[in-house]
């Protein structure tokens, strides 16, 4: 399983982790990882520390997640991208749309 999710009720946090390649083949899995989580005021953390590569359709998938988070009045945080992935996020200037740490 290259997409994993962990829900923590006390922390009010959903952590979605992507392993290896983040591309169009994960479309369905990625959507399934958050689509039923509609708790209000939740922090969605997209953990990209284990992601080696990301393509532009992955950027599109992140935008869909962002829409979902906004609809739930939650927060979205992209966590610990590797240098390669960070570069891709920066070229797309995603730091101006989403918080990245």
């Amino acid at each position: 399983m290259t997409v994993t999710n962990r829900f923590s009720d006390e922390e009010k946090k959903l952590v979605i982790s992507i392993h290896e390649r983040f591309d169009f083949s994960l479309h369905q899995q990625f959507r399934d990882s958050y689509k039923d989580v509609t708790t209000k005021d939740l922090t969605f953390v997209l953990d990209l520390s284990q992601t080696e590569y990301m393509d532009s359709s992955a950027l599109g998938m992140i935008l869909l997640l962002k829409d979902h988070v906004q609809a739930c009045a939650g927060q979205l945080l992209i966590s610990k991208p590797s240098d390669t992935v960070r570069k891709i996020l920066e070229i797309a200037q995603f730091q101006r749309l989403i918080k990245i740490d």
Binding site: S56, S57, A92, Q93, R96, L97
Partner: protein, 582 residues
């Protein structure tokens, strides 16, 4: 005969067996043809193109395995006439051999009619699915070909100056989500776009047509590159679903200003190379791709770079730097820069980059679209001075023109008055040019008129209303400072925080038709404090010996294009008269 009736081919050397199978098949509504050895079975297959083949194994002349192999070779990819071996040899090897020979199933005798019929049904189900997939595939192929044709014939073939721009365009699938456009502005500047829609194939192409239409139409009407980008973003935001967007780089190259105006929204770094193949500027992405945000970010600015005669501007999409070789390494920026530098000296960046990329990737499958544009920074200016009538008296004597007396009434006039924040948000030039086109039709001579209007309006706005000092533009650093300050003051103007009476610019056009042409009188009045007309003209005269100064060229150009150019009211009002032949 029922056309929808399926056809089965039975190949068996036992006539008795053939008869038996034929009866069972007919009960399942098949028509049946029969062959009694492998070789004639193959021939019957060719002649009748059956929907189903039943094959015995041990036969004279050619056995069932060989016949099956030949038949499977004949039926191309995507067509499946299921082939079932019928045998009494009940062992593992027969089963393995029959699959190897291309059989889709095996039935071991003895079997009941029910088992036989069930097997046929199962086979039919599979072949129906294959048919369906084949149909869908063909449809998809047709769509992709249409999109491909549209893209190359309709969209990109209509690009401006294709011979001067180096292009790499290699699609990963038949249709590429990458798009490059070039178009000429009315004043001779050139607009360039290289863009990449998310994803591949037809899905990524839906935005291509609106982008192309908007880019061309707005460029032609004289909108600035930033106005075009804002409009494209708005359009794509409404048009595209949430996960589709358009990463693109834009440039407006102005030979007259010796500058390029750049906007990179989500593409890898662009480059400005000089003739010695040194990288003069890297043009970094400064904005998220278009179609994500409902409007451009408020602090958005064009990057202004100075360009020399032999500089080249290069944009690429991520497919080039992310192309991988067999070992999984990326081609990367270093290899790209090295190849582009060699190409720069050879005067063919595209060819050199492709060569280097092919050597690197060998025969690895291309995963993403690969695109590059290489645009020279010179040779674009094409303002025709020939349409200008230099000596009005001569013209009047030659009776080519109706005399336009001092008191003659214009056949139409147009008046536009812009105040305060509208000076920031409205670009009046396309509005004015639209009026002229509507009333008088499109004409090549409008190019000069457009230049005159643009230069005079910008002078009134920059120096009259905003009171910017044009001497700032004398140095490259000052040039960007000038544009930053200009943006600041426009913001203040929009917020109405500049003290004093309302700021305005008034544009007045009077048109007089002549028998073989026309005359346009343009008057622009601004609310500024004016300037010492004589001093400025004197300074320009001095500095125009030798090197062109970076500022003041606007007025000089207008002066060349007009019959008369006069400043009145301490430089707050300017009147230009422009005459043309048809």
């Amino acid at each position: 005969m029922n056309k929808s009736q399926k056809l089965a081919l039975v190949v068996d050397d036992s006539k008795m067996q053939c008869k038996l199978l034929a009866v069972l098949l007919e009960e399942e509504n098949y028509r049946v043809v029969i062959a009694n050895d492998g070789a004639s079975g193959v021939q019957m297959y060719i002649d009748h193109q059956p929907d189903l083949v039943l094959m015995d194994i041990n036969m004279p002349i050619m056995d069932g395995f060989e016949a099956a192999r030949r038949i499977k070779k004949l039926s191309g990819i995507g067509t499946l006439a299921p082939l079932i071996f019928i045998t009494s040899l009940d062992n593992d090897q027969t089963y393995i051999d029959s699959v190897e020979a291309g059989g889709d199933g095996i039935l071991v005798r003895p079997f009941s009619p029910e088992v036989f019929k069930a097997k046929i049904k199962a086979m039919q189900r599979i072949s129906d699915l294959v048919e369906q997939v084949k149909g869908l595939q063909q449809e998809q192929q047709k769509d992709a070909e249409l999109a491909e044709k549209m893209m190359s014939n309709v969209i990109e073939a209509r690009n401006f100056a294709l011979d001067k721009i180096g292009v790499i365009k290699r699609a990963a699938t038949i249709f590429s989500g990458d798009i490059h456009l070039s178009s000429q502005c009315p004043n001779g500047d050139i607009h360039i776009l290289l863009g990449d829609f998310t994803g591949h194939g037809l899905r990524s192409s839906i935005g291509a047509i609106p982008v192309t239409e908007t880019f061309r139409a707005m460029t032609k009407k004289g909108f600035s590159i930033l106005e075009i980008i804002a409009q494209l973003n708005k359009q794509l935001y409404t048009l595209l679903p949430g996960d589709l967007f358009f990463a693109a780089s834009f440039a407006c190259i102005s030979e007259h200003d010796k500058s390029a105006y750049i906007f990179n929204a989500g593409l890898p770094d662009g480059y400005l190379f000089n003739e010695k193949a040194n990288i003069k500027n890297k043009l970094l992405s400064k904005h998220p791709p278009l179609g994500i945000l409902p409007a451009l970010l408020p602090d958005v600015q064009l990057e202004i770079i100075q360009v020399e005669h032999n500089d080249r501007l290069v944009f690429i999409t991520d497919g080039i730097v992310e192309a991988r070789n067999e070992a999984g390494e990326h081609f990367g920026f270093k290899r790209f820069e090295a190849a582009a530098a060699i190409g720069c000296l050879d005067n063919d960046i595209a060819a050199q980059v492709i060569k280097s990329l092919d050597e690197f990737c060998q025969h690895c499958e291309q995963e993403d679209d690969i695109s590059l544009v290489d645009v020279p920074c010179n040779g674009w200016q094409k303002i025709k001075l020939s349409s200008k009538v230099t000596n009005l008296e001569e013209v009047n004597q030659g009776n080519n023109f109706l005399a336009v007396g001092e008191n003659a009434l214009p056949s139409w006039s147009y008046h536009l008055h812009l105040t305060d924040q509208l000076l920031k948000t409205v670009n009046p030039i396309p509005l004015v040019m639209n009026q002229i086109n509507d009333l008088e039709g499109a004409g090549e001579h409008w190019q000069s008129l457009y230049t005159i209007l643009t230069e005079l309006f910008i002078n009134s706005l920059d120096h009259g209303v905003l009171q910017l000092d044009s001497s700032l533009k004398d140095s490259a650093e000052g040039f960007s400072e000038y544009f930053n300050e200009r943006a600041n003051r426009l913001d203040k103007l929009a917020k109405n925080s500049i003290n004093g009476p309302n700021k305005f610019i008034r544009i007045l056009l009077n048109y007089f038709p002549l028998t073989h042409g026309g005359k346009m009188i343009i008057n622009i009045k601004d609310s500024g404090q004016g300037f010492d007309v004589f001093e400025v003209i004197k300074n320009n005269k001095v500095s125009n010996n030798g090197d062109f100064r970076l500022s003041g060229r606007g007025v000089e150009l207008v002066n060349q294009l007009c019959d008369t150019l006069e400043y009145q009211e301490q430089g707050t009002s300017v009147t230009a008269s422009y005459i043309w032949h048809d």
